[in-house]
């Protein structure tokens, strides 16, 4: 074991709403708690605080998402949790984590530092990233993901483009163009792949709405805002390709059927200089996979999601999970799951009695149950259609890191249905993003060949993970490092190689 090891009772990975509330809860019970987040600022996806170098002069102008984030950060700090940014967990084995602290920006910090944390309990709250969707032209400069555009706005205050189209789906499809517009971006078109809200859906949302009033209000607010700003909002349409010479100059969009398959003859072209794509989010599950936590598949929650019990405990002892990483359900759910995970860890370490923990958990559990009813009602509107994985042509680059086209993948897929083997034949997934952007798409290609079930299976089977579809395709072997790490940080001279065959 290396000299660079420290220990704590609870390690929390991820400084979004889930991680911050888990850390606050665990620390409030007197447990030595360390929270690490690989980004330069805390708050996670929606509550992201401005990056280093920005000083907040008027908190009101940054909006309530920012203020809520600040509250969560301050609460965790007050409870006594250690908070470290620019520190990512790059390897994990049960509750022992290898952390990589990046060098301070600009300040000759060398390669950064590796240190190991031996925790008794670890709460994984890594959040989610944009569901990657490949279509002709998706790699053109000027095509951004919603999360990427949002990060630009929140952390760096950069506004993308002069004529921006948004295409996507899900509860956030309205929020996102509204947010862009709020930051002064000229949004010329917003497309939602799902249907417009019919009377029946509205009725079921309202019926499920008790305890969800603010989410309902949000949905309404975004729609009103878009209308007021004259942003055309069109339902049941997706972008089928982006065109341009060296950069996006136009988008071609088309009507889709209920499986999101484009309807022939419905194409329209619009000149834009930026396209934001947001087909929902998929859990960042590489740490769960490394730890060996049991998972199940649910496309509407983002795909492979980690199984947790009533205390957010995974199948691996000492490893808990909270937030979007357990299925994409939004920030309020993330906060409450964080509370449960914090209590679960505290109970496991004897810092709180089971009955007290149960009492403290009750309000969070009530809110979570209400949110779950609402989510199920939303599903009927926003179910991900398998057509979204069928937009590529043979020339479309699917793995952008290694520049692997679908044609090349098809050659490999003619030989094997094993993702690990496809990866070794084509190098798809071997690049810097480590497969985060291409593996789902390749799994959909495998599923398509295996029976035409496609992404979700048109019958919905793959979507809920019962049989067939992407759900049935085994992911590639999980390996560290979860993020690229410089050799200089990894190297440890104290580990010698005497004797050719060392065993643990």
């Amino acid at each position: 074991m290396s000299s660079r090891t420290q220990s704590c009772a609870v390690l929390v990975v991820g400084g979004g709403p889930a991680g911050l509330s888990a850390a606050a809860t665990a620390a409030a019970h007197g447990l030595s708690t360390l929270l690490v987040d690989e980004r330069p600022s805390l708050g996670g996806q929606i509550h992201r605080q401005p990056g280093p170098g920005f000083r907040v002069t008027d908190a009101r102008r940054l909006g309530r998402d920012y203020r809520r984030g600040l509250e969560l950060v301050e609460e965790a700090a007050r409870a006594g949790a250690g908070l470290r940014t620019q520190t990512g967990v790059v390897a994990l084995r049960s509750s022992h984590a290898v952390c990589f602290e990046e060098p301070a920006a600009g300040g000759g910090g060398g390669s950064g530092e590796i240190f190991e944390v031996k925790a008794e309990q670890v709460v994984l709250a890594p959040g989610a990233h944009d569901r990657p969707v490949a279509f002709p032209g998706w790699t053109l400069p000027g095509v951004l993901t919603a999360g990427g555009a949002q990060a630009l706005l929140k952390a760096s205050r950069v506004v993308p483009g002069n004529r921006v189209a948004f295409a996507g789906s899900g509860p956030l499809a309205l929020a996102f163009p509204a947010q862009l517009r709020h930051y002064g971006v000229n949004v010329v078109l917003a497309l939602e792949a799902g249907p417009g809200p019919g009377l029946r859906q509205v009725a079921s949302l309202v019926a499920a709405g008790h305890g969800n009033e603010s989410l309902l209000a949000d949905g309404l607010r975004y729609r009103v805002q878009l209308a007021r700003w004259h942003v055309p909002l069109r339902y049941r349409r997706i972008v089928v390709r982006a065109e341009g010479d060296g950069r996006v100059e136009a988008v071609v969009h088309a009507a889709v059927d209920s499986s999101w398959n484009p309807v022939p003859g419905s194409e329209e072209t619009l000149a834009v200089d930026t396209l934001c794509v947001g087909y929902g989010f998929v859990p960042s599950n590489e740490l769960f996979r490394l730890a060996g936590c049991a998972q199940r598949y649910d496309e509407d929650l983002g795909g492979p999601i980690v199984e947790v019990d009533e205390w957010q405990r995974t199948s691996v002892p000492g490893v808990l999970a909270a937030g979007d990483g357990t299925g994409v359900r939004g920030a309020p759910v993330a906060v409450d799951q964080g509370v449960l995970a914090g209590l679960g860890a505290a109970a496991a370490l004897g810092a709180v009695s089971p009955s007290t923990a149960e009492g403290l958990a009750a309000p969070a559990r009530r809110r979570l149950a209400a949110k779950e009813r609402f989510r199920k009602a939303l599903l009927s509107m926003y179910a991900v259609g398998p057509g979204v994985y069928r937009l590529t042509t043979p020339g479309t680059v699917i793995c952008r890191c290694e520049e692997v086209t679908r044609r090349h993948l098809d050659e490999a897929l003619a030989s094997t249905a094993d993702l690990n083997v496809v990866k070794s034949y084509t190098r798809a997934g071997m690049g810097l993003c480590q497969g985060r952007n291409c593996q789902r798409q390749i799994a959909a290609l495998v599923a398509e060949r295996a029976g035409g079930a496609g992404a979700g299976g048109d019958g919905g089977d793959g979507r809920t993970g019962r049989a067939g579809g992407i759900a049935a395709v085994e992911p590639t072997t999980a390996r560290p490092p979860v993020r690229p790490v410089p050799l200089g940080a990894i190297a440890d001279d104290s580990i010698r190689d005497e004797g050719l065959f060392v065993r643990d």
Partner: protein, 418 residues
């Protein structure tokens, strides 16, 4: 930055079709080969090419074990793991034999792309064996004498010559030997290419057919001597080739045979691509290191650091300490890599024959039962597979050396270091 060459771009892959790999297993075949790694696929190719009826059974996917997880290097210089430290005359004879075999394997590899008619990423880059201390420099001089005697030309470089010729290395190394025959190929493509050509020549290659038991048919009357029960059905064969790599001993045990082998999980690091700086492959004579820059600009760093065994079907997992120790040796010899980021780590299971000499040939005790197993089996695989196939068809110019016989065993003992 030079545009990294990405394999496959605009060039069709030579791969067997999924339909062929899933075809029903025949009930009989002259030869059945167990194992779809480089050894098994190459033996199948050379046998099928000579018109022998042959079927390969692989329990998983092709090329997923050692043959697809190694670093793809052809190391011909005598390396750290081959030096027992005992320096007896027996030892010397073994090293001589080994050096000759490796020299022949080099010739074979450099003809292989023509033979198979496809791109296997073969590059003859030359290789440096580095010494950090004066004692290690002496080991280099000693091993070079043996290499010379075996006909493997290596050049001794002083510390100053090394600095001049390889300015990208640490300045304070003690010297090196250089062998221009060394190089590498793409381990991800070689075995599948052999399999595809074997199928074209009439071989059956069946994946997801794991051997569960081997029955010996004493008085069957016909030619079949073995009934091999697999998860995809039973196949009878007159001859069996054990090419099961790290599981060769397990398979041999099904026939009551013992093999003097051990398996170790090994660690490999690979980095992001960088501008091309390093042409020769690097090894270290005193510490565990192999380091090279692949054609796509990535650095592949290994050298025998251990991985953690896991219960199947899980693959051996990464020990972070191995990554850290391996990286430290790499930076000791090439400090300029400090800011290059590692993007992936993987593990593979390597078989070590106790006397470090390949086991190639037929068991006298069990006629019809053949072995094809080597420690540095990526380098040696194609050559020893051809030699075995030639011996099995009786056509070969090469009679297999007695030193490779499966039953040389009694004298074998744990002469490996550590």
């Amino acid at each position: 930055m030079t545009e990294p060459a990405r394999h496959g771009v605009g060039r069709p892959l030579l791969l067997p079709s999924a339909a062929d790999l899933a075809a029903p297993l025949p009930s009989e075949s002259d030869v059945v080969i167990v194992g779809g790694g480089l050894a098994g696929c190459a033996v199948a190719y050379y046998l099928a090419k000579s018109g022998v009826e042959v079927a390969v059974v692989e329990r998983g996917e092709l090329n997923r074990e050692a043959s697809g997880t190694n670093a793809g290097s052809f190391h011909f210089q005598i390396a750290i793991h081959q030096l027992s430290g005992a320096s007896t005359s027996e030892d010397r004879a073994r090293l001589l034999l080994d050096a000759r075999l490796h020299a022949a394997a080099a010739e074979h590899w450099y003809e292989l792309e023509d033979e198979l008619g496809c791109d296997l990423g073969v590059h003859q880059t030359g290789g440096l064996m580095l010494a950090e201390t004066p004692e290690q420099a002496q080991v280099l001089r000693d091993k070079q004498v043996i290499e010379h005697e075996a006909g493997l030309e290596t050049e001794l470089l002083s510390a100053a010559e090394l600095r001049a010729g390889a300015p990208y290395l640490a300045e304070d190394l003690a010297g090196a030997t250089y062998c221009d025959r060394e190089g590498h190929a793409n381990p991800l493509l070689a075995a599948p290419a052999f399999a595809a050509r074997a199928i074209e020549a009439g071989a059956v290659v069946r994946t997801h057919a794991g051997v569960e038991s081997v029955h010996h048919l004493k008085d069957a009357g016909g030619a079949a001597r073995f009934a091999v029960r697999t998860s995809a059905g039973t196949i009878r064969a007159a001859r069996l080739v054990n090419a099961a790599g790290a599981w060769a001993a397990e398979l041999a045990a099904m026939s009551g045979l013992a093999l003097p082998v051990r398996s170790e999980g090994l660690h490999v690091n690979v980095t992001e691509p960088r501008e091309h700086v390093l042409t020769p492959m690097l090894q270290h004579i005193g510490r565990r290191l192999t380091l090279k820059q692949a054609a796509n600009g990535t650095f592949i760093i290994g050298g025998g650091w251990p991985a953690r065994p896991e219960a199947p079907p899980a693959r051996y997992s990464v020990r972070w300490d191995s990554a850290a120790g391996n990286a430290a040796v790499a930076l000791r010899v090439m400090p300029m890599l400090a800011d290059v980021r590692v993007t992936h780590m993987w593990t593979g299971v390597m078989t070590f024959v106790d006397d470090l000499t390949p086991i190639i040939g037929e068991f006298e005790r069990l006629p019809g039962y053949f072995m094809c197993l080597a420690t540095t089996g990526f380098t040696l695989g194609p050559l020893v597979a051809r030699s075995l196939a030639e011996a099995m068809t009786g056509k070969g110019p090469v009679a297999l050396p007695a030193a490779y016989a499966p039953e040389r065993v009694p004298s074998l003992s744990g002469s490996h270091p550590g």
